[in-house]
């Protein structure tokens, strides 16, 4: 590796400082609270308490729902990104703005709006009754929570996939056709492998925020569906129990890092020869 010049180091300094204060130090604080009790004595009780049924359930739900949200996002985003990448440049730009639009608004506002739309006297139910259908309980169902995750995070699935798709040379696709590939063969021999890096980062970018969310489940789950994020919030906000909250956070972080490592391993095969 090349030695960095003083200037390069100086340019990097503000971020290094930022990262140290707001990322590294808090990590140590989380670790400290995890392994100590309320009086500051060393203990493993916090971690042990996570095996209680209540916590196990919210870990299970978190992983299940965010996996579902990730899969649904992928199924919707992949064909959309492909179609988008084959459109004319002007159309691509317009579609891009439409995809990005929700990201310009706060997640809190978006989720709150959906709460209004989906509630018993909300837009959807009013529409259903006017069509003569019975009112549905939408809020508080797993469906609503998963929908909220998909709605909020799907741009993060579309963007990386679109980004790699638009870099696929159209003549490579023509070459595949020329050599005898019809649509399906072209998809699984060329498009899928070449877009894999985008799929992997899309999966990561949807799964990670979904698995750690608390706001979406709180509002659209009507407090009935408690994910890990909600558990952490409850420990810290309501019960003032920083130690168990920290233990939950630490386990969640380990979980996320593990799943990212797994994805990286999976993507590693294709990544290498792609970008030399």
């Amino acid at each position: 590796m090349k030695k960095r010049s003083l200037l390069q180091r100086l340019i990097g300094a503000p971020y290094v400082l930022w990262a140290a204060i707001f990322i590294v130090v808090p990590l140590f604080i989380v670790a400290y609270y995890t392994f100590t009790d309320a009086d500051g004595g060393l203990t493993l009780e916090n971690l042990k308490s996570l095996t209680e049924a209540e916590y196990r359930k919210s870990f299970r739900l978190s992983i299940l729902y965010s996996l579902a949200a990730t899969v649904i996002s992928l199924v919707i985003a992949y064909p959309f990104a492909y179609v988008m990448s084959r459109k004319r440049e002007r159309t691509q730009k317009i579609m891009m703005v439409l995809v990005m639009l929700p990201l310009w608004m706060s997640l809190l506002i978006l989720t709150y709006s959906w709460m209004n739309i989906l509630e018993r006297n909300g837009l959807v139910n009013n529409l259903l009754t006017s069509l003569g259908v019975k009112r549905l309980n939408l809020i508080g169902t797993p469906g609503a929570v998963i929908f909220g995750m998909v709605y909020n995070y799907i741009p993060y699935m579309i963007l990386p996939i679109y980004s790699v798709m638009s870099k696929i040379d159209p003549s490579v696709l023509e070459a595949a056709e020329d050599l005898g590939s019809g649509g399906v063969s072209k998809l699984y021999r060329i498009i899928l492998p070449l877009s894999m890096p985008g799929v992997v980062s899309g999966i990561t970018m949807v799964f990670v925020p979904s698995v750690s969310t608390f706001y979406i489940s709180q509002k659209l789950g009507d407090g009935k569906i408690l994910l890990i994020g909600d558990m952490i919030e409850r420990q810290i906000q309501a019960q003032n129990n920083y130690n168990v909250g920290a233990a939950l956070s630490l386990v969640l972080m380990v979980l996320i890092v593990l799943s990212m490592a797994l994805m990286k391993l999976f993507a590693g095969e294709t990544d290498d020869n792609l970008y030399v």
């Binding site: 490579v172 050599l179 063969s185 021999r189 792609l274 030399v276």
Partner: protein, 388 residues
């Protein structure tokens, strides 16, 4: 080579956004031929190739492979293969898998795939490279992979879209020879697209000169060079002095104020014509012995010969000769009858001028800078007036 037509394009018209790219084009390609579509960018040559490959459907007209109408048949069902301009290799596959692609799509037995791929790699001199990533190959090697990938399918026709344009000059020459050899060894019909006239002349059995969506001339390289059909072809292929002339009678052409003997006939008496004289066919002789007389305005030494520009009555002739002359000399030009080629007037007549400049761009720039200079002089004068 036999005389059977393997591909026939009938009355093909293609429009992009209302702009006509191919205009009622008709072209027949014989089995086993090396055909080159030659023209500058935008002439429709690549579009023609894409229609044959099946990447593009013509707005009007019919495509025949032998007796079979191919309109509406998608690219992957056509028995032609393409070599793309930038090779379009599959970046996620190694050399072997790239070449094996078409065979795998056809679900051939593994042993056969193995054998055919290795045979192909041997043909293109890439035997040891089977496991290499294609991204790590040089341009020339990538080119060979692209050739092997297409030829391994034993297509009846190979389409080549400017395949040599990304290679350096020497490698290009080698690849020209190699492609020609492969074509002759396999007997596959090659349809080769290029904007490089030298490449077209040196490789092809038949050259198709295209411009503005029309075919200008079809013929052997010799025909195209020696007997250009109009001023466009004469100007595009090689260097030429194109003059305005009159065909007095059979075997007598008049231009630049002199009547020459020539070998062309069959024109009306006194029919206005375009005359082509190739620069290498003009001899420089002492002024008193020349058929034409002019003043040398430029001499460039090019190694093999000198390129001399001679001004004759305002028209600048280009002459390529091994005899030297001095700037400002008055010299005579002598032209043999068979060096004079007479063409019918066409819409291209008068478009190609003399050798005051070599390119149209330079001519426009000269004109523009003159105008700007005048404007500037005017401004200066105004400023001066203001000061006073």
């Amino acid at each position: 080579m036999n005389q059977k037509n393997i591909i026939e394009l009938k009355d093909i018209t293609v429009r992009f956004d209302g702009e006509t790219v191919l205009d009622h084009l008709n072209l027949s390609i014989r089995d086993g031929e090396f055909v080159t579509l030659l023209g500058s960018s935008g002439c429709g040559k690549t579009t023609t190739l894409r229609i044959i490959a099946g990447f593009l459907e013509p707005d009007e007209g019919e495509v025949f492979f032998g007796e079979k109408n191919m309109n509406g048949v998608p690219a992957h069902k056509r028995e032609v293969n393409t070599i793309f301009q930038r090779y379009a290799l599959f970046p996620h596959y190694n050399v072997f898998d790239n070449v094996a692609y078409g065979l795998k799509v056809r679900h051939l037995p593994k042993a056969e795939i193995e054998q055919r791929v290795h045979e192909m790699l041997r043909l293109v001199n890439l035997e040891g490279f089977a496991k290499r990533s294609v991204a790590k190959l040089s341009g020339g090697q990538q080119q060979r992979v692209a050739i092997a990938r297409a030829l391994v399918l034993k297509p009846k026709v190979l389409l080549l879209d400017e395949p040599l344009s990304a290679l350096d000059a020497k490698l290009r020459k080698d690849m020209q020879v190699e492609l020609r050899n492969i074509q002759q060894a396999t007997g596959i019909t090659f349809i080769f697209v290029t904007h490089d006239q030298e490449e077209a002349l040196s490789m092809s059995d038949t050259v198709v000169v295209m411009n503005e969506g029309h075919i200008q001339q079809i013929g052997s390289p010799e025909d195209i060079y020696n007997e250009p059909q109009n001023a466009f072809v004469a100007d595009f292929i090689g260097e030429s002095n194109i003059l305005d002339g009159v065909m007095k009678e059979d075997y007598k052409a008049s231009f630049s104020g002199h009547t020459f003997r020539c070998v062309d006939k069959g024109f009306e008496p006194n029919e206005p014509v375009d005359i082509v004289v190739r620069p290498e066919d003009v001899d420089i002789v002492p002024a008193e012995k020349g058929m034409l007389k002019g003043i040398v305005t430029s001499i460039t030494f090019l190694g093999v010969h000198y390129e001399i520009i001679v001004d004759i009555g305002g028209f600048k002739w280009m002459i390529q000769t091994t005899d030297s002359a001095a700037m400002g000399d008055t010299v005579g030009l002598s032209i043999d009858p068979d060096a004079i080629h007479v063409m019918k007037k066409s819409k291209y007549s008068g478009l190609y001028g003399d050798y005051s400049t070599f390119s149209d761009e330079m001519e426009e720039m000269n004109q523009m800078s003159e105008e700007l200079a005048e404007e500037y002089a005017g401004e200066l004068a105004e400023e001066k007036e203001d000061e006073e």
